[in-house]
Symmetry: C2
Subunit: 102 residues, 2 copies
């Protein structure tokens, strides 16, 4: 299992559009067989800052996600909404170590 | 529901001890009635960097957690293991909006 935290800083006039685009991507992503979680959260003290907490089964599931039409549409539609390049940070899971808890 | 991402940078000779202390805290925290998730993850390209992905029902559940003996023991036992002060970032949840998905 692989966790990627994707940090996105959105232009102040693009927040609503970014939220709509990402909700659409979220709803399709959680239906992928290799997706375990995809949480879409907004920083409490900065409504222009978001985090996508993405958990996939393995490297193949991550690669498969990046080839889906919903990911590619999201990537293209949000490209001009960001104030800076988004940043992804990879993590290894320590707990929960039990696969059924994901 | 409230998400807090806690970022911890641990001294290089304290990684194993920090992991053990945090696993103990994790196992008790997920039994709290107000806890929805508590993921303990380690940065893939920096084994000294960790994130605690903590999700609680509400502000009361967050406050209750900080009064538990397992939290207070963890806080005291890891204080000298950190290379710098840990940082917590609060987030609002956009998706999954369905409480049962947490």
């Amino acid at each position: 299992m692989i966790v990627t935290c994707v940090y996105v800083h959105v232009k102040s006039d693009a927040v609503d559009k970014f939220i709509n685009e990402t909700i659409t991507n979220h709803r399709k992503t959680v239906q992928e067989p290799g997706n375990l979680r995809f949480d879409f959260i907004q920083q409490a003290d900065d409504p222009c800052s978001f985090m996508l907490y993405e958990v996939f089964e393995d490297e193949k599931a991550v690669a498969d996600h990046k080839e889906t039409s919903h990911y590619l549409t999201w990537r293209d539609n949000v490209a001009n909404l960001m104030a800076e390049t988004r940043k992804g940070v990879r993590y290894k899971i320590i707990e929960p170590s039990d696969r059924t808890r994901w």
